[in-house]
């Protein structure tokens, strides 16, 4: 490839993925042919209901659960809200009003916990270390008499760190505290077995694994009684009201089966590309890798470049045909940079200059070459017009390269 040739490289698969052809084709008949309401008794409805049953089995199998333990939802955020709010409600009924989580969860978990704090719950936010890890002992030591729930993400969405979920699950089971994990980024990237890992509740989302947006699921281990978040009709075995999103449910079943089928092969080939990307980008001066280099999602690259700001980096990369993401304030929708990058100890100004590239099995070697060719050029250009970079070079006697 000519290095000056412009291409389009999608490197934001942690934000969302392209719907796979197999998932799309499986879903299409449920828009205009088998479009019945899955609750209806005639064959058109029953066809839809059968498709939902079959998809539920696929989702269950993908995470080592039983069909009866899977409830379809609108996605990761709903699953997190349901798990946390409704376990908290059950806990409060028996005087248990303490929740343990980490300080770098997704906002669907963090903001739900903050909401519960306003409702009188006590929440312990375990601080992650500089790699984005917590130790199982931290969880063990935080568990109190009145702890009703531990919720810890399986893998972090920004920096890709994979947490010690089986170890935390074991402790929670021993201490008889319910354990929920937001596995939105992990499903399809890390092998998951909810029973071996002692997970009681697990949130997953379709659009992170080549199913459409607006579909997800909550796994609730059989025997756990939690109240409903969405009240109404008798869908999802009376646990989650609302007419089933049949086409998306069908697509999720197909996509999740495909995602877990080739997980080891994917981990091997994608992490090889990831590591090449990381080692090449770290050659740029005054640059650091965020997150654990080993315990890391196979497609996650998160790097901070000192002296530049993330949003202008993203816009510049977009002009070059690369779609990526950042933890800068401007892209976080607030005035502060990403809470994840602050949680691992980055100073504000370094957090502003972070870049997340999330690749997957569709990312080619040529795509990686193009990123490796483009990012240093863009960083150099932005640094050349940055008064902050000028100051860093002057104050720390760094030769501007």
């Amino acid at each position: 490839m000519n290095s000056t040739e412009k291409r389009f490289v999608y490197a934001d698969n942690a934000a969302t993925t392209r719907v796979s052809e197999a998932a799309l084709n499986a879903a299409l008949p449920y828009f205009r042919e088998s479009y019945g309401n899955a609750s209806s008794i005639y064959s058109l409805g029953m066809n839809a209901a059968r498709a939902v049953v079959s998809s539920r089995a696929k989702v269950a199998e993908a995470i080592g659960a039983k069909s009866g333990e899977i409830y379809f939802t609108s996605g990761g955020s709903e699953s997190d809200n349901w798990a946390i709010k409704c376990v908290a409600e059950s806990g409060a009924a028996v005087g248990k009003k303490h929740i343990i989580t980490t300080n770098f969860e997704h906002h669907a978990v963090l903001h739900t916990c903050q909401y519960l704090e306003k409702k009188g719950f006590r929440v312990t936010y375990l601080p992650v270390d500089s790699m984005g890890l917590i130790s199982p002992e931290q969880v063990k030591n935080a568990i109190c008499e009145d702890t009703c729930l531990v919720t810890v993400m399986f893998a972090n969405n920004e920096i890709g760190t994979i947490l010690p979920i089986p170890e935390i699950g074991k402790i929670c089971r021993e201490k008889k505290v319910l354990f929920h994990t937001d596995a939105v980024q992990a499903v399809g990237n890390v092998p998951i077995d909810v029973s071996k890992m002692n997970i009681d509740l697990l949130s997953l989302s379709g659009h992170k694994l080549h199913a459409p947006k607006g579909i997800g699921a909550l796994y609730i281990r059989s025997g756990i009684k939690i109240s409903n978040l969405i009240h109404g009709g008798a869908q999802e075995r009376t646990k989650r009201a609302g007419t089933e999103n049949v086409p998306s449910i069908v697509a999720l079943g197909v996509a999740i089966s495909d995602a877990v089928k080739s997980i080891e092969e994917k981990q091997r080939s994608v992490s090889e590309k990831r590591d090449r990307l990381i080692s090449e980008l770290l050659k740029i001066s005054e640059t650091r890798l965020n997150g654990d280099p080993e315990k890391r999602l196979c497609g996650n690259v998160n790097i901070s470049f000192r002296g530049i700001e993330g949003e202008s980096l993203l816009l510049s990369l977009d002009l070059e045909g690369i779609a990526a993401s950042s933890g800068s304030a401007c892209t976080s929708g607030s005035l502060d940079p990403s809470h994840v990058l602050l949680a691992i100890g980055l100073p504000h100004e370094t957090a502003h200059g972070s870049l997340r590239l999330s690749i997957n099995e569709e990312t080619s070697d040529e795509d990686i070459d193009y990123i490796i060719d483009t990012v240093p050029r863009v960083v150099k250009k932005l640094r050349s017009m940055s008064p902050l970079w000028e100051r860093i070079c002057r104050d720390e006697k760094i030769a501007d390269r």
Binding site: S328, C330, L335, E349, S386, P387, L388
Partner: protein, 143 residues
């Protein structure tokens, strides 16, 4: 969030980027913690802004507003350049997203800071000409 085509055009091809070795007024506003720093270089001769350059650390809107602000004052009499408001910069860029309005304020402040430096270098108290202005980003409230 959507940027106007004008903003994207100025971001992709910013005007007047760089430094002026013979600048006689230099101003820097904002701070690294909130993610925006603008530095303006002015060359003022015979009461006219003969040349202007900028360097910006910040988001797309920060770069575009700096670029537009320099265009709006280049070649203008000092009195006119001092009247540049953030609203004029926003209008010239066909609008800014609500969350980015503070960037245009920073551009106005950067010019005022550079003008104040010019007057100070001439041994003139800048306050009657430039008025009072902040060197920090008001939106962040950081100091």
């Amino acid at each position: 969030m959507i940027y106007s085509e004008k903003v994207m055009e100025h971001f992709a091809n910013p005007r007047n980027v760089g430094e002026l070795p013979d600048a006689n007024g230099i101003g820097e506003v904002g701070n690294a913690k909130c993610g925006d720093i603008m530095k303006m270089y002015l060359k003022i001769e015979d009461g006219i802004v003969k040349d202007v350059k900028f360097k910006t650390f910040g988001c797309g809107a920060a770069v575009a507003t700096s670029s537009m602000a320099t265009e709006l004052i280049k070649g203008k009499p000092v009195e006119e350049a001092l009247k540049l408001t953030n609203k004029a910069v926003i209008e010239a860029l066909d609008g800014l997203p609500a969350a980015k309005l503070h960037c245009s304020v920073l551009a106005e402040q950067a010019i005022k800071a550079a003008m104040a430096d010019y007057y100070t270098r001439q041994g003139i108290d800048p306050t009657p000409f430039v008025g009072s202005f902040s060197k920090e980003c008001d939106a962040c409230g950081l100091n």
